[in-house]
Amino acid sequence: MAAPRDGTLSWFLALTLGVSLIKFLLIKAYHSTDFEVHRNWLAITHSLPVSKWYFEETSEWTLDYPPFFAWFEYGLSHIAKYFDEEMLVVQNLTYASPATILFQRLSVIFTDLVFVYAVKECCKCVQGGKRPRDILGSPSFVLAVLLLWNFGLLIVDHIHFQYNGFLFGVFLLSVARHFQGRHLEGAFLFAVLLNLKHIYLYIAPAYGIYLLRSFCLIQDNSDGSLKWRNFSFIRLAALGIIVCSVFALSFGPFLALDQLPQVLSRLFPFKRGLCHAYWAPNFWALYNAADKALSVLGIKLKLLDVAKLPKASMTGGLVQEFQHSVLPSVSPLITLICTLISVSPALFSIWHRPCGARGFLRCCVICALGSFLFGWHVHEKAILMAILPLSILAVESKDDAGVFLILATTGHLSLFPLLFTTPEFPIKILLMLLFTLYSFTSLKRLFRPECCLINTVESVYLSGLIPLEIFCELIYPLTSWQQTFPFIPLLLTSVYCAFGIIYSFFRLYGILLRGPRYTTKRKSH
């Protein structure tokens, strides 16, 4: 292509514009009930006083994000009224006029600018040794494509409908600030993020340990061990003030109104079941599948009495609590303990052997994955919390690149059941092919002198995704079982992908504990 006059900026702009045009073209695509969720929140925050926001129950989609997101919706609602005032009426349930759709879609596209800015900052932090002759082969370019054109983000945000781009923008910006050594800004951004969507609590331990160890403890001993005398209370105090003031700003009004218990109960609704209606491909999916298999086996072998088994179905439409038949039931406390056990070694590792900002990022990914695998009522979209930060590590280290390819491909395929409508089927196939083809070829090219990034077993597993998808989407619906057992394709997809994700989790642990191998030497700060 023509030599960019500006160097860095023009290709980045071209990539941003390209993906934005695709987002505009997706305006007419299918949107899920999340569309109505956000319309409802626009209506609630616009039409009702603050004191009623967390009590409003006209719609089943009650406000269950932290206060900053409510204020964000409030801000959006002031622009919304110029598009269609009817959408701001709380009673207008499932209101979806063309103007409403246009406004909501545009709001996602424009708030994605935060994400674009964050990606630009991340690209600046990523090094590739000498300045490459070829822009297309530089780590910054590859990272920009992997993040801006991320398949999961595109279909979840711009088809299914959510604001993840905006939220991940804040998250990645916080990460970039840590890479750049601006830790206070990073901490501030993360505190803001927690008050936008509390699911990021999963990675809070990584932040906590990293900041305590690498920011508050100014200098280590010559052998790298702790030197408690260098603990900077000033820095700790600064962090404390920042975090506390952010939380005070967010929850303060509700504390004053004495509504804190209500807000917290909305934010943490543990009455929902272990698994979402569609099982996220995590450990509990395997657990449930094993339980079902054992119960079917038990009934066949006459070891169990059908009448005594609990009738509730785990895959019913309404999410309720249920019991397992053969294996012991799982409570929220157990999932919490499992999650903590799964991430503790990583936290321990960055405490004892800090590897700078990259070690912190790897710990974030592990925390995200650990809580995805063992958490309570996990949504499959949460896999993006692991895939996106891992992209940054993938363009710098061969091992991370290998894990990224497995995690991203498997994770993205597990998102397929989110788009179950026919017109969107070719689009999701095409976008998936685009992203997968690009990620494989570009990462292979980045680490060219080394041989393959994934070994034979892994390639066989990944190739198995294709027949799985063909079976679930094309063959199974044509059989008679589609009516009687409609959840089988979902179950198969969950279980198959769960293996890949669990494997990636252990591989990442291996890299963390062993120490990564980078393409170029750098000193960690």
Partner: protein, 494 residues
């Protein structure tokens, strides 16, 4: 990255653009009783599936020609038949005789959209890939950029995947014809073009260059020796393929005549609707459509078209090189579009698919049609993307020196000295002006109401502006073709 990977990514991007545009509305959606081109295609599936071949082009009790009668050559009819068989397997209601008129459903829309994309993938896209990777000149980056730009060309996407048509089949076949000729496979090229012509009669716009190029080539090889053998082989290929396509209609002269009558509706007058050609624009000043009789109109347009095509044809006959052939294609299609009989807005697509120098006006001239189909949003997005990306990838605005524009020989011949004003500035100004005019007219067409006395103001303005631009391009390309010096054999893709 390897070429196959880059090419695959370009193709996937092109397909994504097509499918996302397919999500939008189509021509005549919910507009009873006549609907639009979508219903026409569905109706042809109904007719070809349920009625015997001898009734397809005739007005019978079962086949009302006034309701979207078949007016494309037999290959289109066979294609519709094939689609109808598949439709029958999925849901026979879609093509039930008489009862399925105006049938609309999400599943049917998906099926119809899928047939267009399938045709794209089978015929058009491979032709474009082969053309860009093997026939075009330049570095692999230039080739990939050209591939991406051609695949993202909004005109074809909006008409085929939005409005609803199958232009990609005929354009793809014509492109295979060009490819065949470019690689020296004259017989295969002729075969492909014959198929294209049997699919849509509008490919006649490209027919003359094919004829003169092949004739000239035979002439150069010696009309008594190898040239004669080649001429005979080509003629046989063309005649046999025509015969095979038109076979069912050749047994009865009445059948043949009726088909031709349907393909070339002379009684309909010089033009219909607002189209960016000379007659429509002239009609604003002088009402030629009402002043002259239909016969006079036919002779007038025939004469002017031939006249417009004459210089380029003679040059091609004398110098049958591939570069001349491509220029002649451009000139011939421009001349036909501007001067011929019963031109439709969609024919504009024929101009820009082979050589890519798409000025914004091509897209603009389709705007009235797209507005009717509620395709304004995708029109804006795809046009914007296309213009920005072709500018970025090709720095088109920078390539405006005299040499790049191939006007060097012309300047030397005419002795004019373009250097007193900066030529490149003029070109840049012209390009900027056309983009601005396009933006302005698009906005006005979509947002403003025309004055009551002139209800067709915006479509007419759009057509007239576009016509002026096309005349300019006709002049430019003729100059380039005619003044090409014998030495320069440099091929370039724009």
């Amino acid at each position: 990255m390897e070429t196959w990977a880059v090419a695959s990514i370009c193709v996937l991007l092109g397909l994504t653009a097509r499918w996302t545009v397919s999500l939008n509305s189509y021509s005549g959606a919910s507009k009873a009783p006549m609907f639009g081109d979508y219903e026409a295609q569905r109706h042809w599936q109904e007719v070809t599936f349920n009625l015997p071949v001898r009734q397809w082009y005739f007005n019978t009790t079962d086949n009302d020609l006034k309701y979207w009668g078949l007016d494309y050559p037999p290959l289109t009819a066979f294609h519709s038949l094939l689609c109808a068989h598949i439709a029958n397997l999925i849901n026979p209601d879609w093509i039930e005789l008489h009862k399925s008129r105006g049938y609309e459903s999400p599943a049917h829309k998906f099926f119809m959209r899928a047939t267009v994309i399938f045709a794209d993938v089978l015929i058009y896209i491979p032709a474009v890939v082969v053309y860009c990777l093997y026939l075009a000149q330049g570095s692999s980056k230039t080739k990939s950029s050209a591939l991406l730009c051609i695949l993202l060309y909004p005109g074809l996407i909006l008409i085929d995947n939005g409005h609803f048509q199958y232009n990609s089949v005929s354009l793809g076949l014509a492109l295979w014809g060009v490819l065949g000729l470019g690689c020296g496979h004259d017989l295969l090229g002729s075969l492909a073009f014959t198929l294209a012509l049997s699919y849509k009669q509008m490919e006649l716009y490209h027919a003359l260059p094919f004829f003169w190029y092949l004739l000239g080539k035979c002439g150069k090889l010696g009309l008594t020796g190898k040239g004669l053998i080649l001429l005979v082989k080509i003629s046989l290929t063309v005649l046999v393929s025509f015969a095979l396509c038109w076979l069912p209609f050749l047994f009865d002269p009445q059948q043949t005549l009726q088909v031709i009558h349907r393909l070339f509706p002379m009684a309909r007058g010089l033009f219909e609707d607002k189209v960016a050609n000379v007659w429509c624009s002239l009609n604003i000043l002088v009402k030629i459509k009402t002043l002259l009789s239909v016969d006079t109109q036919i002779y007038l347009s025939f004469g002017t078209t031939l006249l417009a095509v004459l210089p380029s044809s003679i040059k091609l006959l004398m110098k049958p090189t591939f570069w001349q052939f491509r220029l002649a294609l451009m000139n011939s299609s421009l001349a036909f579009f501007l001067f011929s009989f019963q031109v439709h807005e969609k024919s504009i697509l024929l101009l820009m698919s082979v050589i890519l120098s798409a000025p914004p006006f091509v897209l603009l001239s389709m705007l009235p049609l797209l507005l009717k189909d509620n395709l304004f949003q995708p029109y804006i997005i795809t046009s914007l993307g296309f213009i920005v990306f072709s500018l970025y990838l090709f720095s088109a605005v920078d390539r405006s020196s005299v040499d790049d524009l191939r006007l060097g020989p012309c300047c030397r011949l005419t002795g004019t000295n373009f250097l007193w004003f900066s030529f490149s500035t003029v070109v840049k100004l012209q390009f900027a002006l056309s983009v601005l005019t396009m933006a302005g007219l698009s906005f006005m067409s979509a947002a403003l109401e025309p004055p009551a006395k002139l209800p067709d103001l915006f479509p007419v303005l759009v057509s007239a502006c576009a016509c002026v631009h096309f005349l300019g391009f006709l002049l430019y390309f003729n100059l380039v073709q005619l003044t090409e010096s014998p030495r320069s054999d440099k091929k370039k893709i724009n």
